[in-house]
């Protein structure tokens, strides 16, 4: 038993729904009690979905438990097939139905339906949403893919985009443009927009693009083992990762060079232009799903010249990847789905910018630290109407804009530093282009040893002149320094001695 207040991931059957909802002509019968239909609103509200997710819930009640929940399930399957006429049927159980052990797969089989039935095993008490997407897509591919003649020209599939994925819709569009530039044919995109009948022709392609490992790694590996289809491992998010991705495709295709039109890429020049000088060494903390965290880390370090103070991911499946990346970056990796733990880490590290999910945005608001969203879970406001991919050249442009937006701009930052005590233009005012943001840093809370160490008035005054985003750290460092050196009062001099001691 583990206490949870907010969660990063839903249960695995929500992952299965993300795959089913992304696809066409597929229906999912979920053995579930009343209330589990809440999951529909994730799709209709956060993504503003204009149709109901293709899911039938059996809605069993307490009085059914003693009677026959299995019949209820069979009836739901039959009616769903009659009404929605899908090309294939997914069947599975939510957490409560898993406990009553009705065997949805066996029950659906017994109906002798004329369409393929794909049973899902989704262990609700061990696994989570991302496992559900990966496993469901893999089961669909395994059940439906069959040998096909390859297309004459080199072609690929884009695998991984689902419903409720962070910018998946736009990523696919950008990637299609890049493939077009590279003169590579696209066979199919799946799960997003694919029907069971198109999954059958997956194997016409020569290779797969594993766009998001979280939702397509099992399928890509199975297609490689069984149909010899190579797949890309670089996720093309950021300039350098996109270049590596193209290079990887070249190798798979067996060509030495290829041309991708980068004329729409502005990120590189924007980052080199003098205004971007103030990004140098900005301390960032990065948290989200592993794929987006790994690509964001590379962008932060190589393409923005930020200084990364910590990284982490909530999906344990990719803990190893994030741990080894952290080692390279010489920071600690935080692998956790406990948002209180993440909040504590952020409060300790006092970054100047958080790159995270919706959860970190809330943490940032509470701590008064700017945050840009780079990963699911996301809020309706991070599902924009405009084209805003993360992938490819246009994705890089979008990322530059998104990350820079919450920050205080160059000269403004200097002015704030010069006239710190200005009564209306001060460092608690927050960036001038964001009307509602106010720095909420609570310096009082950063004290390490309550009441044991006192601050002389002149030292307190001096502390206030230190930029707000490092003030908390400076205060704690000074107190630690004072404590370790046996001082009970902090003077202005001691403040600067501590600064020299901790100089990087």
């Amino acid at each position: 038993m583990k206490l949870s207040i907010w969660t990063y991931e839903g249960p695995p059957h929500v992952g299965a729904m993300r795959v089913a909802t992304a696809m066409e002509k597929l229906h999912f019968v979920l053995h579930a009690p009343q209330g589990d239909t809440y999951a529909d609103l994730l799709f209709t509200m956060i993504e503003r979905g204009n149709k109901r997710p293709p899911v039938t819930y059996t809605t069993f009640q307490a009085r059914d438990l003693g009677a026959d929940t299995a019949d209820l399930f069979k009836k739901a399957c039959k009616e769903a097939v009659e009404r929605f006429k899908p090309e294939a049927l997914l069947v599975g159980a939510s957490c409560t139905a898993e406990l009553i052990q009705d065997d949805p797969g066996g029950l659906a089989d017994a109906l002798n339906l004329e369409i393929p039935v794909i049973p899902l095993e989704l262990p609700s008490y061990q696994r989570k949403e991302n496992f559900g997407t990966d496993e469901t897509f893999y089961q669909i591919v395994k059940a439906l893919a069959c040998p096909q003649e390859k297309t004459e020209k080199f072609s690929v599939n884009i695998l991984g985009p689902t419903a409720l994925g962070f910018r998946h819709r736009d990523d696919v569009r950008e990637l299609k443009t890049i493939l077009d530039d590279l003169n590579i044919d696209l066979n199919i995109v799946a799960p997003l927009g694919a029907a069971p009948s198109s999954i059958k022709s997956l194997t016409k392609a020569h290779a797969n693009i594993m766009l998001y490992p979280e939702s397509s790694e099992l399928a890509c590996r199975w297609l490689k083992e069984n149909f010899g289809m190579s797949y890309t491992e670089h996720t093309p998010i950021g300039i350098n990762s996109t270049k590596d991705f193209i290079e990887e495709l070249n190798q798979i295709r067996g060509v030495n060079d290829s041309f991708s039109d980068t004329s729409r890429l502005n990120f590189d020049w924007w980052s080199k232009s003098v205004d971007s000088n103030y990004f140098t060494g900005k301390r960032v903390f990065i948290f989200g799903d592993a794929t987006h965290v790994a690509t964001a880390s590379r962008i932060a370090k190589e393409e923005m010249a930020f200084s990364i103070v910590g990284i982490g991911c909530y999906n344990r499946e990719y803990a190893r990847k994030i741990r080894s990346l952290a080692k390279v970056l010489s920071v600690d990796a935080l692998i956790s789905d406990d948002y209180l733990e993440v909040e504590k880490r952020i409060a300790d590290l006092q970054p100047e910018l958080i790159l995270g999910s919706q959860m970190e945005r809330h943490i940032g608001k509470r701590l008064g630290i700017p945050c840009a969203v780079i990963s699911a879970p996301f809020h309706v406001q991070d599902h924009p109407a405009r084209f805003s991919p993360q992938v490819g050249w246009e994705g890089a442009n979008v990322i530059f804009d998104t990350w820079v937006h919450p920050l205080v701009m160059g000269l403004e930052e200097h002015l704030l530093g010069m006239f710190r005590e200005d009564f209306e233009f001060n460092d608690t005012a927050g960036p001038s282009h964001l009307s509602n943001s106010k720095s909420k840093l609570n310096q009082e809370k950063d004290t390490i040893a309550d009441n044991e160490i006192t601050w002389a008035p002149e030292a307190t005054k001096e502390l206030k002149k230190i930029p707000f985003f490092v003030r908390g750290k400076a205060k704690r460092n000074t107190e630690k320094f004072a404590f370790e050196n046996g001082h009970s009062a902090i003077t202005k001099d001691l403040l600067y001695e501590a600064k020299a001691h901790y100089a990087r």
């Binding site: 038993m1 249960p11 059957h13 209330g35 529909d40 994730l42 039938t56 809605t59």
Partner: protein, 424 residues
């Protein structure tokens, strides 16, 4: 499913056929009530003993994240709890100990049962008793079930309030208890009006904290402010309290009839009643008059959601001139909503329970001017060209009483006006 075979005649003063359906239900489970209950009862913490799905539901149903650390959480059952490798009760005790240590402001702890905890028969009543022995009097530990196999949406509040009843102080005194949680501002308005009528001892269930819970005796009278409180009503009656039956206080007419039932029960004079209610009645009428033109003659279809549907349908048809097509409710307790039902003329289809696909067929067929439905259905129906009203807003917005009559009508006017205003 043959619809006609499911129409049952219910005994009562008005012979109203009810269409009963069983199938997929597009409604929340009772856990959802925690979203407002944890703000209403300010020293309470709601600890759901359930699965990741329960935790995900709570944060998704809220729609927004609440910035402050919420006073609810889920103790998520794991494989080892189910396989019996861990003693679920020991695990629960540990989580409760951690929680109460971190939140010393908590005075009432509700252990909330879920579908998985009910299915594995985790005895939370026993756990609450055991934990009470450890933490009482500092913390009172109670339990109720918000599981989807037993409760829909607002029935969670019913179960919560029913669990409070046995803990109410027994005091041999007359008092009037308003039952059901309301936004604080509305609660204050209604209490004020009743005080002006001359009734001194009024309290509210639930109180805003442990210290303000009502006392109860055989001399207590109570009146419901929400129609979904079947179990709470039963628990209060068991304690000897008498229910004042009335239509629910929605709109000018509803609020007047609701207050009049109290007046009659207490033998208050007509003059006094007139003095107290005439000004707010006039205001409410004036406000409604302005909005009525937008709703007059428009048709409306209710999908089941909160059990507020029948009283609201009464308000919309009688006070706003709307035409009712179907009024769906997850559960109908005739003894609670009969006063509202009696007032509905041109009886529409009244349906109980749900088979969402069949109901969607009927809705499309009847092509209503407004469809009241949950968030899972609203955008898909809008995309089909229907105009919708989110049912959940009716639970999260102050809509009871005279001063809110206009706001209540406005909730239904807004989607119509928007459709009119948009030219895209």
């Amino acid at each position: 499913m043959n619809e006609h075979s499911n129409i049952e005649k219910l005994a009562g003063c008005s012979e109203i056929p009810v269409l009963k359906e069983r199938g997929q239900r597009e409604v929340f489970c009772g856990l959802t009530g925690i979203i407002w209950l944890h703000r209403k009862i300010q020293d309470a913490f709601f600890l759901v003993v359930g699965s990741r799905t329960c935790a995900h539901l709570l944060q998704s149903a809220a729609g927004v994240m609440i910035f402050a650390e919420p006073r609810f959480g889920t103790a998520i059952l794991e494989e080892k709890d189910l396989a019996g490798m861990a003693d679920a009760h020991e695990e629960l005790d540990r989580e409760v100990a951690n929680l109460l240590e971190r939140r010393p402001d908590i005075k009432q702890l509700f252990l909330v049962g879920s579908c998985p905890s009910e299915v594995i028969k985790l005895d939370l009543a026993n756990a609450a008793e055991r934990l009470s022995k450890i933490y009482f009097p500092k913390v009172k530990v109670l339990n109720f079930s918000g599981s989807g196999i037993e409760t829909t949406f607002t029935q969670g509040e019913d179960a919560c309030l029913a669990s409070l009843v046995p803990t109410l102080k027994e005091k041999d005194e007359e008092n009037l208890i308003l039952v059901g949680s309301l936004p604080d501002i509305v609660e204050d308005q209604l209490v004020e009006l009743i005080k002006e009528l001359g009734i001194k001892e009024i309290s509210v269930l639930p109180g805003r904290d442990r210290g303000t819970m009502p006392s109860i005796s055989k001399k207590s009278k109570f009146i419901l402010v929400q129609p979904f409180l079947t179990d709470t009503t039963e628990a209060l009656e068991k304690k000897g309290a008498t229910r004042i039956n009335a239509p629910f206080p929605f709109g000018e007419e509803g609020t007047t009839l609701w207050l009049r039932s109290i007046k009659e029960s207490y033998g208050i004079s007509d003059d006094k009643f007139e003095v107290v209610t005439s000004a707010p009645r006039k205001r409410a009428k004036l406000g409604l008059e302005k909005l009525r033109k937008h709703l007059q003659g428009k048709s409306i279809f209710f999908f089941p959601d909160s059990q507020l549907e029948i009283p609201l349908a009464r308000f919309l048809s009688r006070e706003c001139g709307m035409k009712l097509i179907e009024v769906g409710s997850p559960y109908i307790n005739r003894s609670i909503v009969d006063k509202d039902l009696e007032l509905i003329e041109d009886m529409p289809i009244i349906s109980e329970g749900q088979d969402v696909d069949l109901q969607l067929d009927r809705c499309r067929e009847s092509n209503p001017d407004i469809t009241v439905c949950g968030l899972g259905l609203a955008n898909p129906l809008e995309a089909e060209g229907l105009t919708t009203k989110w049912a959940i807003e009716l639970v999260f917005t102050p809509i009871h009483g005279y001063e809110q009559a206009q706001d209540l009508a406005e909730l239904f006017v807004r989607p119509l006006k928007r459709k009119e205003a948009l030219s895209i």
